[in-house]
Amino acid sequence: MEKLTKLGRISTVIVIVFLATLWMFPMWRIDLKAPQYPGGLTMTIWINDVKGDVDVVNGLNHYIGMKSIHKQDFKEFVYLPATIMTFMILGIVVAVTNKKVAYYLWTAMFAVIGLFSFYDFYKWEYDYGHNLDPHAPIQVPGMAYQPPLFGYKKMLNFEVLSQPHIAGWFYILAGVLLVSVSIFEWRKTAKIEA
């Protein structure tokens, strides 16, 4: 079994540190702006919480029949920290066992977690924006209020901008690092074999 390069071993530590930022900073931010809110409204999504002007947004959303956002409704806020924590512990195992195969598997696992998280986030946003109360006071035919996963969207009197926050960027960096190091390790092996 091939051993990891020194760089590969160090990268496991860096990835763990990057992911630890999820407990220190929000992962995602959604900014909203409307004429009535000159200072704008911001919601920040943390690994285990949603903060910012959630109450204000909830208050506004009842007009168009969107569900209220409540922390306790998100099972993700339990599963996601557990998953990431497990992933970080496995990273220590990778570093200790010092095997390339383990590193590849670890990277693959990250990819699965990452893709599933985005899919889950998108699914929630779709449901949040489409599953409207049929008795809502304001009903615009054909209008849905799904916030963008990434980027800008105009919805009624609101402009919405969705983007990663600090920990989100670190999470993305962790992914980039994992994939880059995997490729590097793979090439190294290929060279030796050649």
């Binding site: 109450d55 204000v56 208050g59 009842h62 007009y63 006071p137 304001i138």
Partner: protein, 659 residues
Amino acid sequence: MKKLLLIFSTLGVVGLTESCKMKNTDAVVEGGAASKVYVAPGKYDEFYNFVSGGFSGQVSVYGLPSGRLLKVIPVFSVNPENGYGYSEETKPMLTTTAGFVPWDDQHHLEISQTNGEQDGRWLFANANNTPRVARLDLTTFKTAEILEIPNSAGNHSSPFITENTEYVVAGTRFSIPIKNEDVPITSFKQNFKSVASFISVDKTTGNMHIAFQIALPGMSLDLSHSGKGPSSGWFFFSTYNTEQANTLLEVNASQKDKDFIVAVNWKKAEEYVKSGKGTKMKTKYYHNTWNEDTHSATSKVEDEVIMLDPSELKDMIYMIPCPKSPHGCDVDPSGEYIVGSGKLAALIPVFSFTKFTKAIADKNFEGDYYGIPVVKYEAALHGEVQKPGLGPLHTEFDGKGNAYTSFFLSSEIVKWSIKDVKVLDRVPTYYSIGHLCIPGGDTKKPWGKYVIAYNKITKDRYLPTGPELPQAAQLYDISGDKMQLLLDFPTIGEPHYAQAIPASVIKDKIAKIYDINKNHNPYVSMGEKATKVVRNGNRVDVYMTAIRSHLTPDNIEGVFLGDEIYFHVTNLEQDWDVPHGFAVKGANTAELLIMPGETCTLKFVPDRVGMFPFYCTDFCSALHQEMQGYLRVSAKGSNVPLKYGTGSSVAASDSGAAK
């Protein structure tokens, strides 16, 4: 008053002919004026200008330099616009020993100070008619406390403060018999006293307490200002009617060539109080305090004051002779110069604190007034500003060694140099200026830049509005050698004294909402689920909530003629600038205006059977118009069960509603 004006006008005409100048009423406004007062849409003014509301009883807040009215803060008068004085929570604020008093005459304002500089924590306001002092909180722009002043009548020389806000003073304009006994008016000289009150202010909470009162001989205490720096232990009050007339004061109180500036050594007075030299006197006065946690006021009746007698307690009070019924009594930023403004004098005397204390040390007295030593005029005099104008009233300072005095009769502001008492510049005011204000102009650290004139007469300055015209203010640029008129703006009530402070000192500390989790009003509804209607005898308490865009409950039945209904409305919003209003048809009170997180109570006693719609009065949302409901009032003894709710909770029991 009319007669007085006539005499003043005649004097004015004489003054004008004497100086051989005919003034043109057209103001010369130079080209640059517009740009100096232009505050672009969405931009903020540089200064807050707190202006007394005079006979409106309130305090108004303007932005400078634009002159835009930002807010009227209810203080001493009821304000149906937001329920002040009408809601159950605010009623105690206006309660006095004379009962509930819905109006007063608000003259002077003072922003709290630390080391003689404005700290922007509180604003003090006086009530002239039913003697009171109010403290306003400058984080909420609300009246936080009102203290009634016993042994006083016409609380005019108030609410001026010491340089660390240790005390707020309240000097009576009308002498009255102590304990207000029934005596002949003509026994003025024997029985009437002028009481000066020193109200201590708690450094942390701001809570006021009458520390002591000084029973001065009967006369009129007019205006006052604290010393500062070297003179900080002293307070100076101007007086008129030292003749002690009790009728036709216009003539009888204008006989003497000189009245007095009363100099009070309050440090000495404090010592006397500490060593028990004061007399404890039984009396009665109301002390009303607003509690920001319960969103309600409570009244406490106090029953004692400590009275100091200056004829027995030496070295506490001295008199400085001051020409012709002095009005303004102003101390320059250094604390060395005291300016007295004789309303009928043709000069302005400037006293030196150093010379005044030397005169005391040298016992350079010209006599005494009821046992109080009177220092010699010349011994305390720094100099006289000669021929400054007619009818000097008040003086403010720019911190650059200049003083600015208002002249009622000659209707102008005169700038003069303190050191050499020379007139430097003069500008007309439109018309008949009373007070004037420079930002920080009565503190150790004036901000300068502008002087604002508060005029008594408007005449032709604005589009006519019938016989009753607004009073007005005028803004002048004082950054250069010459004063320059920039702007006219009308005011509410009658503006007397004002204070201006850079917006930056207070604007970032201002509250946006009340935290609903800190709402300890006993009738709060913490959420819609907590709403209810409770009957107790003929008292019905409605615990109601307001949130965009419904009231809960919005259907109420089972209420009868003869019931007293208390609507306790909690605004559940926690977002900036989302108040809800609440009004009931036929309520003979007013509306409620409820800020986010606040609970307010409206008492309603229906006078007939029928349907009483209620609704939100403040356009809160796109569905504000739908924010409405019904109270059904039935005949006494009818078989209508108590029932209430909003939405499905009412709909479920729909069938039972038919009579």
